[in-house]
């Protein structure tokens, strides 16, 4: 009887380990990825990956993940059915973030140490182009129609607009100090960019490439220099954006129609990157200093779970397919 119970538990456990949805979190200082079961909100597995994993994205079919192993100077490809590394992409030195073109075969990566944007063709594993950008390129975003992509450079304080057909740098817009994350709105009309040291989020018109809005944040009891916007996510069907505010330990909830900041959600220390689950009912945040992930209800803005992961969680993505 005892044996049966144990084996039942074991099979349950292994079932749980592969049950979807699951969240993947890169732990920058542990060289691992934590996998969180999105039903039990437990860490069900921890996988070793390349040195200093940061950016993490899923392929469109969610069968593979692309991981920036920054100190290993490569992008690792992981087969998500068995969590094995099945290949590398030639990322150039120190890849920090990655973005996938909607065609599913072109991947962009920013090489922080070389002031370059590298464009890679996934099937052939070849570098198609390297484009000179500003110092310490960081945030990447591809428009939903796939025609335009942007890269932000942290020390140059710019958004570089790149034509995805010609790989030409077509425009450069100045933005507040130390731009980090960038996101196109669903209709591709606007681009949102966070500035960590500037303490702002800038909204650009993608036609004119001009700044049309600047959001700044004032939180009672939090010193203004601690408000450092980093990760941004925009909801698909609802007019809301969430912006992680770094050492302010909060996420701002912004109405994208009125540009009003409607709420601040208190999460873990040094909140960094954000991701939604499939129906966007839940938002996940990586909290670098406290080494955990907050799981937030996107309607009530309540933190429903806090999941301890590895040291310095950085990238996050949810797999549901």
């Amino acid at each position: 009887m005892k044996f049966r119970l144990v084996s039942l538990l074991c099979s349950l456990a292994s079932f749980t380990a592969f049950a979807l949805p699951q969240a993947y979190v890169t732990n920058e200082k542990d060289n691992t990825i934590s996998i969180i079961d999105m039903q039990s909100f437990d860490v069900v597995d921890t996988i070793d990956v390349g040195e200093r994993p940061r950016g993490f994205i899923l392929s469109a079919d969610q069968r593979h993940a692309y991981i920036c192993a920054s100190d290993a100077d490569r992008i690792q490809i992981m087969d998500l059915s068995n969590h094995t590394i099945v290949g590398d992409l030639p990322s150039g030195a120190d890849p920090e973030t990655i973005a996938l073109h909607p065609n599913g075969t072109t991947i962009y990566t920013a090489n922080e140490d070389d002031a370059l944007l590298t464009v890679i063709d996934i099937p052939s594993g070849e570098v198609i182009s390297q484009i000179d950008v500003g110092v310490e390129p960081e945030g990447l975003a591809v428009s939903h129609d796939g025609k335009m992509m942007v890269v932000t450079s942290e020390t140059t304080n710019m958004v570089h607009w790149i034509d995805t057909q010609t790989h030409e740098n077509v425009a450069n817009s100045l933005v507040d100090a130390r731009p980090r994350d960038a996101h196109f709105t669903m209709d591709d009309k606007y681009l949102w960019v966070s500035s960590e040291i500037g303490g702002t989020v800038s909204i650009f018109d993608t036609q004119t490439k001009q700044k049309v809005h600047t959001l700044s944040f004032e939180i009672k009891g939090v010193y203004r220099d601690k408000v450092q916007p980093v990760g941004i996510v925009l909801m698909k069907d609802s007019p809301y954006a969430f912006v992680a505010l770094g050492p302010a330990n909060r996420i701002a909830v912004i109405n994208t129609e009125t540009f009003k900041i409607e709420d601040y959600i208190l999460v873990g220390r040094r909140v960094w990157q954000l991701a939604f689950n499939e129906d966007q009912s839940l938002l996940l945040s990586t909290n670098g200093v406290s080494g955990d992930v907050s799981i937030i209800n996107t309607t009530s803005h309540k933190v429903e779970h806090t999941v301890k992961v590895g040291r310095y969680p950085w990238g996050v993505a949810v797999k549901w397919k």
């Binding site: 922080e112 140490d113 002031a115 000179d132 500003g134 110092v135 310490e136 450079s153 942290e154 020390t155 140059t156 304080n157 710019m158 570089h160 450069n172 100045l174 100090a177 130390r178 040291i197 500037g198 303490g199 010193y223 220099d225 450092q228 050492p247």
Partner: protein
């Protein structure tokens, strides 16, 4: 040594020198070659070098001039603690590179020349050369004794240029900033002393023994620390000057306990020793076994190689890869000066950038404008104090192997800016001897 040079050869040597005067010969592996280059470079160090960089004529150029008054080295400083030959200018070189990547997109570029000499008179003579007359910003590395004279010369020769003090922490120099565009990018001793005092408060350390050497800066640091002690309610059990009478590298273990013996017990030792004459021998040798802070042990600095947060690791990597040595606070102050100038240039109109004589003036106006801030890997925007023209910045508390923390420490509050818990905010103005 006679060096017979054709002009091409001289240019080539000059180039090697700037790469190596600048790269501290780190890249040159061959011993003999190194010696040869060093001696050749020393000859040239007394004159000048121009940065071999591609200058485009079609975009606005802002000229930076690095001026170093060479100080005679004090005997007794261990060779491993001597300041690198490219101190400061190496940080500026990295900043120029960074700024020009940005400038490429915004049609401006920075160029840099460097001159060094042991006396003000020689600097003055060299400044007669027409190629220095277009300098818009000066990075000044000068000792307190010559500082005011250097400022006077610069005010005469290059009245429009913004001057950055990149290497001298002496608080007295902050009183020279009234009415002239003299910006202090290196933190003042008062900022450094306040940072240490905050750490003492947090650690509940109260009784301190203060030790100092003979250098002018040692007295300046000590006097700042006395101010901090008053402000943060610390007690100095004794103040002693190092007598300099024996070779510490052999006798430290027996001599330092004697030197640090006091009637009253202390909980920590503060030391001011600009020229590395004795402070390095204090840790683990003091009469009472206590932490050593200041110019040895726990140092309070504008920058340290162990600082990696807020993207600093990227800058540290770029620096170490280029110059084969860690980046120090003078390198960072030079970096910060150039990046501040570049940030100001971005905010200037193209007209203001090109009008021949007024570039320096508009640069100063933009820099000293109320809302001006600059991002420089310190986790918060840095601004300039209007009265002392000191760049507000956190102070890094670190020992050789690790970062301890950044001041201001949590809990030390100020009504305007937490960074104003460090250093003097206001100053009385000194008279200029123009």
């Amino acid at each position: 040594m006679t060096v017979h040079c054709s002009s091409t050869l001289l240019r080539a040597i000059n180039f090697v020198c700037l790469k190596s005067a600048v790269a501290s010969l780190g890249g040159v592996k061959h011993g003999l070659m190194k010696t040869l280059l060093l001696s050749t470079c020393t000859l040239l160090a007394l004159s000048t070098y121009t940065y071999a960089q591609e200058i485009r004529s079609d975009i606005d150029t802002i000229s930076i001039l690095h001026i170093q008054l060479l100080q005679p080295s004090t005997p007794g400083t261990p060779s491993y603690l001597k300041r690198p030959v490219n101190n400061g200018v190496a940080g500026a070189a990295i900043a120029i590179e960074d700024a020009n990547i940005t400038g490429k997109f915004l049609s401006y570029q920075l160029s840099m020349q460097s001159l060094s000499a042991p006396t003000i008179t020689e600097i003055k003579t060299q400044l007669n050369e027409p190629n220095y007359h277009n300098a818009n910003a000066i990075l000044l590395d000068a000792p307190s004794s010559d500082f005011q004279a250097a400022i006077s010369v610069l005010q005469q020769r290059l009245p429009e240029a913004v001057i950055f003090n990149i290497a001298n922490s002496d608080d007295a120099l902050r009183t020279l900033s009234c009415g002239i565009p003299l910006v202090h990018s290196i933190p003042s001793y008062q900022m450094k002393a306040d940072a240490l005092a905050q750490w003492f408060r947090v650690k509940r350390i109260k009784e301190i023994l203060a030790l100092h050497g003979k250098h002018h800066n040692d007295m300046a640091f000590l006097s700042a620390f006395k101010q901090s002690a008053k402000k943060f309610k610390l007690e100095l059990v004794d103040v002693k000057q190092w007598s300099d009478s024996f070779d510490l590298r052999r006798a430290a273990f027996s001599e330092i306990p004697q030197f640090t013996r006091t009637k009253t017990r202390y909980d920590a030792v503060f030391t001011a020793d600009f020229d590395a004459q004795f402070a390095y021998a204090l840790p683990f040798n003091t009469y009472y076994q206590v932490p050593v802070v200041g110019d040895a042990g726990l140092k309070s600095l504008g920058w340290h190689a162990t600082h990696e947060q807020w993207g600093a690791r990227q800058l540290q990597n770029r620096f170490t890869e280029t110059f084969n040595r860690p980046m120090n606070e003078v390198d960072f102050a030079a970096y910060l000066s150039v990046i501040s100038a570049a940030t100001a240039i971005q905010q200037m109109t193209s007209d203001a950038r090109t009008s021949d004589t007024k570039v320096g003036q508009s640069l100063a106006l933009t820099l000293l404008n109320d809302g001006f801030t600059v991002a420089a890997y310190r986790g918060r925007p840095l601004s300039i104090r209007p009265s002392t023209k000191q760049i507000r910045q956190p102070i890094t508390l670190a020992h050789e192997d690790a970062l301890v923390t950044h001041a201001p420490l949590e809990g030390f509050l100020h009504q305007n800016d937490e960074l104003d818990t460090l250093g003097n905010i206001n100053t009385t103005c000194a008279k200029h001897n123009n």
